[in-house]
């Protein structure tokens, strides 16, 4: 049995496919941020981080958009950190 607080093990294809559909949203901005993070950052999360990402996807589009675009700040510091982390991972680096 996996340690729920530690290394969550490799991400299964089915888990990724399921999450990919949950990243399909009503706003293009959210599509880019959530799908982009799924491709580039999700695998690096520990077990609680993955659970937190799944919980984040349950929020309404408008609320997610407000958080990502800095119109409001999530009350929960864990969510706040995750939102910041997603933006940092997805934002392109310009040379």
């Amino acid at each position: 049995m996996r340690d729920p607080m530690g290394d969550p093990g490799p991400v299964t294809d089915e888990e990724l496919r399921r999450l990919r559909w949950q990243c399909r949203r009503g706003m293009l901005e959210l599509d880019h941020l959530l799908s982009g993070f799924l491709d580039r950052g999700y695998r690096e999360l520990d077990a609680p981080g993955r659970t937190e990402f799944l919980a984040l996807l349950d929020n309404q589009d408008q609320e997610l958009s407000d958080w990502f675009m800095s119109r409001s700040i999530p009350e929960d510091p864990v969510v706040r950190d995750l939102v910041r982390h997603i933006v940092a991972v997805v934002t392109p680096r310009r040379t």
Binding site: R18, L28, M69, S70, T91
Partner: protein
């Protein structure tokens, strides 16, 4: 194989504003209604609509529906049907009040009435002073409407099939539409939903273009299903592009940026709009700015590694002005372009935004097709509403605030008409097994193994070709070349294969099914645009720069079979008032 089935009085495909408003009418009248949505309903693209809903409530400035009608006819560049436009502008008022009573938290004036803001294209007294006609719920009107309608549907016991993908319409032996075959995304299993009436409300198709402001879900599914059922699409060449989307991503950068003093430069730092529009410069009309950007890129003056975008400069405005007046733009640019406009320009390119055309309907949301010469008939039991439909209220161009209005009015009216239809047609028709097999074939073809073009590669190539050859820059030469290439890609699609043949949440298979829809709908845009030899509204052709009312004041109808075109007249006679004759559009 045996396919499980469910029976309802009405089936609605799509759970945005149009679908949910129709469903609410039906469920409230105790009609058994099913709503199929490929994503959770409150993740529909309606949630992204910020602007508001036009209705001549006259709460802020004098107004009436007749002025609203005039503005809409003029905005349509006289291609909108005046009976449908009159109907929409009249119905706007009860529609907004109904939403208010349903609980939409519209912004308020001090006197408690609904606040209304002014938008471009709105006038008092038939082209006079600015009107204030747009009702909004702060800057999240779409979200407020979508959530209210969803909650009301839950209360009214609408049956939702969330995360089900509609494969195709099915017919009975007489050819009457009798429901749809859908796919449960979680299990990968098909389900037949039989219904006496079916409403297509699947939204836009912006994903046919590489750069679009539309969400990933907007793949023209309903339009493509209609095409495959032999129904033409109407006025598909009229597609609205916003000149400044974030390059390679598509998010809108509002005109307000240029209004505040931002300007466009090419790779040499030249303010090129001075060449194309010496007076208006960066504030020229949307189509002029969009075409100028594409011309700069085509002629080798684009910026970036691939020279495929233009730069929007704001840094001269200073951090204080940008933070105060354009905070959302700064954040968007930082996140999606990696450019902080306080220090560096935003890479931009025109972005596909809104389809004026779609499945032809009358003002009750009933799908109509031509028969014989000049007349048309209703397709029994089939309805369409919202961006996928064309009741012909936007004509060649849409006014701000009229898109939410369109989905709400015609969703509502389609729902009301379906109530009568199912009462007059109480018996369920049996689905023809041949029709079901055909729909199943669309799914099972992806079970084939072996080598072939990867579907995702074809998708990218198709969307790029649409952008290059059927986007804002439309000459005979460019579009003819593009059409040939699109046909080649359509042929290649027949050999496209998937490597993932799993069933549970096989998103690659859903995307491949969407690709077929993109191809069908993309071709309808490209072919309709190639044939229309004039410039009108959003369809702008440098080789035919003028509007030609003598030859082209007519609606295009594209048929999938042999890419055939047909035409039908514009309905210039309103329901109760005098016609607005075509005039040159001057703002």
């Amino acid at each position: 194989m045996s396919i499980p089935s469910r029976h309802f009085d009405a089936l609605i495909i799509g759970a945005g504003g149009a679908g949910l408003n129709a469903a609410l009418q039906l469920a409230s009248a105790d009609v058994r209604v099913a709503v199929v949505s490929k994503v959770f309903p409150t993740r529909s693209h309606t949630v992204a609509a910020q602007g508001g809903v036009n209705a001549a409530l006259a709460n802020v400035l004098p107004d009436n529906w007749h002025w609203h009608m005039f503005d809409t006819v003029k905005g349509s560049d006289y291609l909108g049907d005046q009976d449908a436009i009159e109907f929409m502008c009249r119905e706007a008022i009860p529609t907004v009040y109904e939403l208010e009573h349903a609980g939409v938290p519209f912004s308020r004036l001090d006197n408690g009435k609904i606040y209304q803001r002014a938008f471009g294209g709105q006038s008092q007294d038939f082209g006079g002073d600015q009107a204030a006609r747009t009702c909004a719920a702060a800057d999240r009107t779409g979200h407020a409407i979508l959530h209210t309608l969803y909650q009301q549907n839950i209360r009214a016991r609408t049956h939702f099939f969330d995360e089900f993908f509609a494969l195709d319409l099915v017919r009975d032996k007489d050819g009457i539409i009798s429901g749809a075959l859908v796919l449960e995304i979680e299990t990968g299993e098909p389900l037949l939903i039989e219904a006496k009436a079916t409403l297509l409300a699947t939204g836009g198709c912006g994903q046919v273009f590489r750069t679009t402001s539309n969400a990933h879900i907007n793949t023209g599914d309903g339009c493509a299903m209609a095409l495959r059922a032999g129904i033409p699409l109407m006025d598909m060449e009229f597609y609205q592009f916003h000149p400044t989307g974030i390059a390679g991503k598509g998010m809108l950068i509002t005109e307000g940026v240029r209004g505040e003093g931002g300007f466009l430069v090419n790779k040499d730092g030249e303010r090129f709009m001075e060449r194309y529009a010496p007076r208006a410069k960066d504030l020229a009309s949307r189509d002029v700015v969009a075409r100028s950007i594409v011309t700069e890129v085509k002629e080798g003056r684009g910026a970036g590694e691939n020279g495929d975008y233009i730069l929007l400069k704001l840094d001269h405005l200073g951090a204080e002005v940008i933070d105060k007046r354009l905070p959302g733009i700064r954040e968007s640019s930082r996140i999606f372009a990696g450019a902080d406009p306080i220090r560096e320009p935003i890479p931009v390119f025109p972005t596909a935004h809104y389809a004026m055309g779609g499945i032809p309907t009358d003002r009750f949301g009933r799908v109509v097709v031509p028969v014989g010469s000049g007349s048309e008939q209703v397709v029994a039991g089939l309805y369409a509403a919202g961006e996928c439909a064309c009741a012909s209220v936007h004509g060649a161009n849409r006014l701000g605030g009229n898109s939410l209005l369109d989905i709400l009015v015609f969703g509502r009216l389609a729902g009301k008409d379906i109530i009568d239809f199912v009462r007059e047609n109480p018996y369920q028709r049996s689905v023809d097994p041949a029709s079901l097999d055909e729909a199943m074939g669309r799914l099972t073809r992806w079970d084939q193994k072996g080598s072939g073009v990867p579907a995702h590669q074809l998708r990218a190539e198709f969307r790029k070709c649409m952008e290059d050859h059927a986007g804002v820059f439309r000459t005979e030469e460019i579009m003819t070349e593009g059409y040939q290439r699109l046909c080649e890609l359509r042929e290649q699609f027949k050999d496209a294969r998937l490597t993932d043949h799993s069933k549970v949440f096989n998103t690659a298979r859903i995307e491949a099914l969407e690709l077929q829809n993109l191809i069908d709908v993309g071709l309808s845009i490209a072919v309709s645009a190639l044939h229309r030899k004039e410039s009108r509204g959003a369809h702008s052709r440098p080789d035919y720069p003028n509007r030609d009312d003598v030859h082209w004041m007519k609606h295009s109808l594209y048929y999938r079979e042999a890419d055939r075109m047909d035409y039908k007249p514009v309905r210039t006679k309103p329901l109760t008032v005098e016609s607005f004759p075509p005039k040159e559009r001057v703002y």
